[in-house]
Each structure stands twice: as structure tokens, then as C-alpha cells.
Symmetry: C2
Subunit: 147 residues, 2 copies
DNA sequence: GTCAGAATGACAACATGCTGCAAAACTGGT
DNA sequence: ACCAGTTTTGCAGCATGTTGTCATTCTGAC
């Protein structure tokens, strides 16, 4: 059993994923730095920007697959920094909606101007099919573990 | 440029990788819990166990692609817990070698008894070729970012 | 042998993630 | 309308990772 060919492949993959995660966080920090953001805030502003109608903090957490508290702490700081604002939620007295401020929108636009070329540069020499298969595998594993 | 087909694919992949990373850490914690370990200690004990002859703390950090301090803190705790021991390094007066204690070896063996079936179970329904392509992609990205 | 530069250890500050708990607000079945 | 169960908030504690700084040790070029 220990010699299953997939076993070592999978364990190598898991270790490599840990490492790649660290490198991607560093990349995010590097890209977001000039805009006064960090990797974690980059993730949050992305979710808020794509949900034009406002999302709740637990909603962001679910979208990112993270804990509510981790997101709450970041949105609190970003609200202090004037990137996000909290807006009354007609559907829930306590759970406010998170929206971009004008400045938040500007920062997100500037972020896209860095992030999109980054994405294109880094896939230039990667076959489309490899990206598709890789994404399929990652999603398959998420589905497997996310219960 | 913003409509490059690979751009969205890659950004989706990056977000999915962040999420998968969190799930894998949780899986590691779950597996290691019964052995009194955590995900971070699991990574460290794996590196030490595979390097039968002893490795230095910065060596472990390089193998994991992490900072020296992150590893140092963990090895210090594991040394207190009797899983690792520090041994004089004939090649360097200050930089000691990290080795498994007998108890550390036992724990690693017990870990394998959990980890290996876990790896096999989770790849049962994944085509071998998908694993190979996925690992190739991850390694390609690591190589791209790790400078 | 000497000396500049790299590697290492120790300490500290900080960012990001998790969990647990209690109280308030919402939801849905009766 | 009521009540049980779920969701959300706020607070607290902790694990893990990063960076920065300084002193010590090693290394290699000269």
C-alpha cells in the first residue's frame, strides 16, 4: 500500500502546495504593497468588488473559505483606512453590508492594473490545457475536503 | 488584454489554491491531532525524518520554503516535547543538527500509518495523469516565483 | 593570515489564520 | 405568537508565518 504510485505523487503535491501558497502570498504582498494593501486585503477587496451589491462579513468568509473572524478583523482595518464602508442591511439588523468607498474603488482599479498583467505574464509559457487540468484537480480536492 | 483566456483561469486558480491550502492545513491538523502534533510540526518532522543524517534549522526552512525563524520556533517546542534533539554539528560551532529522538521516530511511524492511507484514499478517484499534470503545474509556478 | 560578506541564532514586533464562548438577531415549524 | 435552532457579532486566546536588528560564526578571496 505504501508503494501506491499515487501516494507519493499526492504527498509531493501537498508539500509543493504549501510552498506555492507561501510564494503566492508573497507575490500578493509585493503587488499590493504600492497600493498600501497586503495579500489578505487584496483577497477581501476582490470579493467585495465583484459583489457589486454589498456582501456581509460572513459572506466574504464563505466566499474565501476562511473564518469569519479573520475576515472581520481585516474589514475593520480597511474601514478605518477608508477603503470599505459598512452600510445598513435591510435584511438583517446586526449584519451590515460591506461596500467599497470611492477610494476603495480607485484602489481596486489600480490593483487590476497590476494584477491582470501579472496573471498574463505568468501563464505565457504555460499550456492552456495544463492550467485547465490543474484547476480541475484543485477544485476536486477542495470539494473532497470542504465538508 | 484583460480578456486573455488564461488570465481568468490563472486568477481562479490562485484563489482556489489559497482555499485549498487552508483545507490542507486543517486536514493536517486533524490527522496529527491524535499524535499530539499540528500541521506545522507534521511538516517539520517529515523533513527531519527523511534526512536521516540530521539537518540544520535553516536547512529545514529551505526545504519547506519558509523562514528560518518560523522553523526555529517549532523545533524548539518539539525539542521541549522530546520529539527532536539538538546534536553538535562538527561542521559548524553554532548551527546544531536536528535529529529525531526515539519517541520522535515512533511518532513519525504512527504518522505514516495515518498519512499514507489518507493519501491513497484521496487519490482513489483521481486519474494518475491529472495528478501528474497538476504537480507539474505547481512545480512550474514554484520555480517561477521562487527567486 | 586577514577581512568582507554570507549564514546562523536570539529576540522582538507584527499580520494572518484558527477556535471557543456568550449574547443578540434572524428563521421556520407548529 | 412561540420556541428551537441557526446565524451573526464581539471578545479573547493562541498557532503560525513574516520581517527587522544585532551579535556571532563561518567562508572564501586576496
Amino acid at each position: 500500500m505504501a508503494h501506491s504510485p499515487k501516494r507519493k505523487l499526492f504527498l509531493d503535491l501537498v508539500l509543493s502546495l504549501f510552498r506555492l501558497n507561501g510564494l503566492l502570498v508573497a507575490e500578493g504582498d509585493r503587488m499590493a504593497e504600492a497600493l498600501g494593501l497586503t495579500s489578505a486585503r487584496w483577497k477581501v477587496i476582490g470579493v467585495v468588488a465583484l459583489a457589486h451589491s454589498g456582501v456581509t462579513v460572513p459572506g466574504i468568509a464563505r466566499a474565501l473559505g476562511q473564518s469569519r473572524q479573520a475576515v472581520q478583523r481585516i474589514t475593520d482595518v480597511m474601514e478605518q483606512d477608508g477603503l470599505l464602508r459598512y452600510q445598513d442591511n435591510p435584511e438583517h439588523k446586526r449584519s451590515v453590508l460591506v461596500c467599497l468607498t470611492d477610494r476603495g474603488q480607485e484602489v481596486y482599479t489600480a490593483l487590476r492594473a497590476v494584477q491582470d498583467p501579472w496573471a498574463i505574464d505568468n501563464t505565457e509559457d504555460v499550456p492552456l490545457e495544463e492550467l485547465e487540468t490543474g484547476l480541475q484537480l484543485v477544485r476536486r480536492l477542495i470539494y473532497k475536503f470542504d465538508r
